[in-house]
Subunit: 254 residues, 2 copies
């Protein structure tokens, strides 16, 4: 639907979203995070004091998103990473005593997406072992958390980036997805002729008592109404009925 | 909130959700998928003809979810994996000509979560390179797709498992998350005394013209109303004002 030469407002908002990874330990996670961002239409990655970067493992896990990794900015402090951002969302799995606004990521993404229509926003993710420090989190106006089964550990950092970027996309652009191709629908009268044919054939097979058709035909109508019949499907079903008619006629003829 | 000894209906529904990975190539992805499931409260993993399993790389990436990996069932065919399931959701990034019901994962998860209250359901994920085959997808009553920026590749399989399990949890249990602890709120009269004090001190500092207070005080009221003041914060602010009062008095005294 989207014209590639004029990005929608939602796409422009996603281009305003910066993903900031703080002191990431494993380069594989940086690569996987880049891939997660790219699949959701995010482009801007900032790395605060990564332990190993650049690194071939990051490139391998980034797959198609290697260009995003090439453009990633490496900075020394979280403050440098956040320059210019008007909304900063820090992800945290653990409860923190001094957190201000805390929301589930779905709500935080809605607010950040609205802000990103006008100015840069950041999603900030901490280190693998312990997340963001309290000092880092204090720089985040909003603390967002991904609902989890707390008894079973926390998400891998790239998995958290995937969920957060997915929610940013859902909030900015919505859940438009591909549709299965539609084939021409059968018309009302084509469908009624199918039912008439079916009734006749089922009676000829003695599967249907024409004086007591109560349950069978309404059930068949319900089933096919739910499915929404196409022209070609009506033709297939009538072909099957016609073949049964032939078999019955031959047997009768014997 | 939840009593661990009596799981909620939503938790029981999640226990009814089977994740099926078909012909997974990299054992690291199996481990990461297990971790993704565990964080969202899913327990049952079935592997159809995995290339390498068990494998130490799977255990490493599973982190805390290694027990879930130990319990994983390995089967030879997708049919075996789906026995007993009343709703089968196949994940597909690519459009398919013969797909029946196609939905975004959020809608598919709502429907599957409702079904899982009563009977087993499956989420089915294909191989890394090409996803589910058309024959495999034909066994899935629902095709679900994760909205993506199609020009930037598809999600890693474990990342797709993470998003799908997250949506299953949101649909079953909702987005309940930890809250920052609340400290005792300031009362209306405490806050009004703060504003009275502030007005007095700001006037004494000649920052506020008491005959023209129009913009400043309403702005301050608006700011603090948005924040929702706590008792201790009122005390801190009044302490600052009192300190300013002292400084002013001393200067005047000189």
């Amino acid at each position: 639907m989207t014209d590639r030469f004029s990005p929608s407002a939602g796409e422009q908002a996603l281009a305003n979203v910066r993903v900031v990874l703080v002191r990431t330990t494993h380069p594989g996670n940086i690569g996987a995070a880049a891939r997660a961002m790219a699949t959701m239409g995010l482009r801007e990655l900032v790395l605060v004091a990564p332990r190993r970067f650049p690194d071939p493992e990051a490139v391998a896990r980034a797959a198609n998103a290697a260009p995003l990794l090439d453009r990633a900015r490496v900075v020394g402090s979280l403050g440098d990473a956040l320059n210019g951002c008007t909304e900063v969302v820090g992800l945290s799995a653990r409860p923190r005593v001094f957190a201000g606004r805390v929301s589930a990521i779905r709500d935080a993404a809605r607010s950040a997406a609205a802000q990103a229509l006008h100015s840069p926003v950041a999603l900030v993710f901490g280190t693998e072992m312990s997340g963001l420090s309290n000092e880092e989190l204090a720089r985040c106006g909003v603390v967002a958390t991904i609902p989890t089964d707390a008894s079973h550990g926390s998400l891998n950092v790239a998995a958290a980036v995937q969920v957060a970027c997915y929610e940013m996309r859902m909030a900015s652009i919505g859940g438009e997805v591909w549709h299965a191709p539609r084939f021409p629908a059968a018309s009302h009268d084509e469908i009624e002729r199918l039912y008439a044919h079916a009734e006749q054939t089922l009676a000829a097979m003695h599967f249907l008592d024409p004086r007591m058709p109560r349950r069978l035909l309404p059930r068949l109508r319900r089933l096919f109404a739910r499915a929404g019949l196409e022209k070609e499907e009506v033709n297939i079903l009538r072909g099957i009925l016609a073949r049964i008619d032939q078999v019955l006629a031959r047997r009768k003829g014997r």
